[in-house]
């Protein structure tokens, strides 16, 4: 498949001063990110209220959900899924308590089947998302941190470069990840 969007460019944090320390995220091509997510055993997609600002992202999250990846819908974003009739493997939970659970190795996950190995994030207020990546980076390094957000996330392990002001490119990039997951 032709990969149209270069997601490796522009690794600049959305709020310029968001540099946490020596360990910073690399940017990856959509194909690589997709393959890593696909290979993970216990992935969790975490989405938040910013999806309401760009509602097509709910449809994309649902597509990801349909590949078997459970979704944690933070803040009131669950409403976007309910409105679209998708309630299968999507869970309402606050982002803050979710992050707290994720740092404990003995947490059994939203489905009671065990802790997750891959945390995939999009659509959460930038500063909050960034700080949460940082919490996991520092306090539970067993979980891989992947951003498929429109922003470069410095404290993830793997991220897109900044696509904040290129909505078409961003949508295409997420579509490319979905295409890999569906393969």
């Amino acid at each position: 498949m032709e990969m149209a969007v270069d997601t490796t460019k522009n690794p600049v944090p959305f709020e310029m001063a968001e540099f946490h320390g020596p360990e910073i995220s690399k940017t990856y091509k959509t194909k690589v990110l997709g393959a890593i997510i696909k290979k993970s055993k216990r992935p969790l997609l975490v989405v938040g209220a910013e999806l309401f600002d760009d509602p097509v992202m709910f449809d994309k999250a649902i597509e990801i959900g349909k590949t078997g990846i459970p979704i944690a819908a933070t803040a009131h974003s669950i409403k976007g899924f309910i409105d679209r009739g998708y309630t299968e493997n999507v869970y309402q939970i606050g982002f803050n308590p979710l992050a707290n659970y994720l740092r404990f190795k003995d947490w059994m996950g939203l489905d009671g089947k065990g802790q997750y190995d891959t945390f995939i994030l999009m659509g959460i207020f930038y500063k909050f998302a960034s700080a949460t990546f940082s919490a996991l980076k520092n306090f539970n390094r067993d979980i891989r941190r992947i951003s498929i957000d429109r922003y470069y996330h410095v404290s993830a392990d793997m991220s897109f470069g900044n696509l904040a002001f290129k909505p078409d490119d961003y949508h295409a990039a997420v579509d490319e990840v979905i295409a890999v997951l569906k393969k």
Binding site: V12, F14, E15, M16, A17, H20, G21, P22, E23, G48, A49, T74, A75, H76, I78, K79, I82, D83, Y91, Q92, G94, F95, N96, P97, A99, N100, Y101, R103, F104, W107, M108, I124, F125, Y126, K127, F128, A131, T132, S134, A135, K137, N138, F139, R141, A164, F165
Partner: protein, 805 residues
Amino acid sequence: MGKVEGSFTVEDMKNVQINIGAVIKEEEEWDQPMGPFPYPSIAKLRDWDFKLTDRYRIYYNPICDRCTLCTYGPCDLTGNKRGACGITQEGHQGKLVLLVVLIGCTAHCAHGRHLYHWCLDRFGDMPFDMGPEIDVDAPLTRTICGIKPKTIKDFGPVLSYIEEEVSQLLACCHTGQEASYRDFDSKALHAGMLDSLGKEVSDMIQIIAYDMPRGDPDAPLVEIGMGCLDKNKAIFITYGHNVAGAAESIFYAEENNLWDKVDIGGVCCTAIDNTRIGEGLGHPWIKKNLGTKVKVAGAMGWWRKMVRAGVMDCVMVDEQCVYCDVLEECSARKIPVIASNEKILLGLKDRTNDPADEIVDDLVNFKVPGVIVLDPIKAGEVGIRTAIAVKPERAEAQANIFLTEEEFNKHVEACTQCNSCAFVCPPHLKISNAMEEAAKGNLEPFSSTYEICVGCRRCEQVCPQDIPVLKCYAYANQEYIKNQKFKMRAGRGPVLDTEIRIVGAPLCLGTIPGIIALVGCANYPNGTKECYDMAREFARRGYIVITTGCMAMDMSLYTDEEGRTIWEEFPGAFDGGNVCNIGSCVANAHGHGAGIKVATIYAHRNERGNYDDIADYVLNKVGVCGIAWGAMSQKAASIATGFNRLGVPVVVEPHGVMYRRAYLGRTDVKEDWEIIDARDGSKVYCEPAPEHLLYVAETKEEAMLMLAKLCFRPSDNNAGRMIKLTHYCDINMKYFGQMPPDWPIYVRHASDLPLVYKDKMLKELEEKHDWKIDWKRKMILEGPIRPSEVAFDPTNIERKIRVRK
């Protein structure tokens, strides 16, 4: 008569007099026995803190992974590595949290210390009289220090105690002192408690000295908004938190009949306190309701917008949340600045000892951009006289404050839509879009985002085209600025004992679903209207809504369908369905005070030197939750932490991650929710009520849901639990589109179920959760975490067990 243990030393302290005779006399007059922890030092309440943090796990989100505090550094602590000194990332984060809370705490305490000296100098010692409806008159002072103040001077030892503790706590941050993050956090909780005490002292002193309301639900309505400042007069702005200098400017205007020549407006908490002057029990010489002559310009988040809106001729700053570029902003517009407090001197020359005439002359002729005048009386006089005299002198500068149409068009057309500004904008405004639309003649995006812009000026600093974004905002919003005229209820002060007698039982049983305490200042994630929306949602649901400071000001800027502000729509008592403006941010202490009073007045608990007992009562029995929305400063961190130690959960906005720490419960660990039944010492596994102690919410909707949820308490009776559960479910249905997934854990008995959902819920409990239901009697036979029991007496403190099984 009991003997009072302990002693304290106060050296080199003006106006402080301590002798044991006085303390013994105190003991005679107060028959309540001294509790175990008067004037607690750092480690005294550690057991209580550990009880809290055993259950509410300390969660850190580092904002920086490095430490650079000593010459060994920088140390990379990523992944909880240790620094050269041996500290872990967790320990380092705990240290930073403690430092932040200490900064906030000292701001409040030092405010109180300044007022203490100044008020004794200005007014002499005055009786501490909270009026006929308040007997429990300084609840935090009584609870923490074990004393009952009789005059202003009695607060001296309280301030000395805070100062000593703060110095001990700050010492713990030195490299090589504390190592454990849990102990750092206990110390932060200690600093939070000291912060609450410092706030109480500050507000009590000013209430007495300036005759502010003693808990008046009908405190007067005062004018608020940029549009209420009369441009035909000189406009003098008092900006900050300490009313000393501002009050003198008001006295000066009054004594010299200058109200037809000058309008006094306030920004930030000084604004609220100005409007409280003279509304209490009467004062030897302050005129009744003098404060109502003063106007509130607005909350601190409006400051830079006000400067660009041309609403001031002269500014006096005092202390705390003052933007650090105040001098540059003002001098660019020929607005003289008077620094009136040692905490903010701005590099200016100290003119305190010069004649007022000379200082005014220098300011009016722009020989200097500002001066320091540390004598509040002189600062007040200089301020008013300068404002009046400078007004004609700065007419030209004033005329050029707004951009011309031509200038505005030039700027918006110069925008290249590069989005460098949006990259740094805290509320993520798409400024390029506003510029683009304005270039087409459409000012709507500039209008609709005016209240969302937090005025940080970061955009202007990064704009490659040097576009003055805030000036563009001001140009596009001139009509709004002119019409920003609203009413705000002046801060009423403490909660009355008589009010507590009415609400005590319904609060503890849950039939008043809770107290919602809103604080906040400038950094709203999505504009000021969210404060109004949240306050209104809870007042309409019958909660007691209390608010203070900039949050109270910001929620005044909206009206309902009938044109009423929130203060006109809802009454101002401490009761369900009311909205109370308690006062400025030091008046937050009355929120703590209300919790303590429920324990003492309604439940007859002894508060004296008995902090953990009272906090335990609040945590288990008083449905109260704080919210810091738009909270900006370190004071918000100390305020929240002070609430937390008293057992009050707090929700913060998404920017609140900058405080680095949350306290979050784990509902999957049953043992975390074990509680003692004080009747016989038996252990009970309880539902997670309240589930969290400090919680970062992503949106207003989530914040509201959490506020409702964090008002659950183990002591709720069935009717109370039903009411709380109704609001919790209803808010989730309204904003989330479904029932909250965890509602079953709050059900102990069928009568806990909201009537509207009862049958549906029973069915779901049976089908999805395997509960056993007796459908004939509509009763739950099996399923809940624990049965509901009317006499259940939940506590976390062993010494509260009455008879051991």
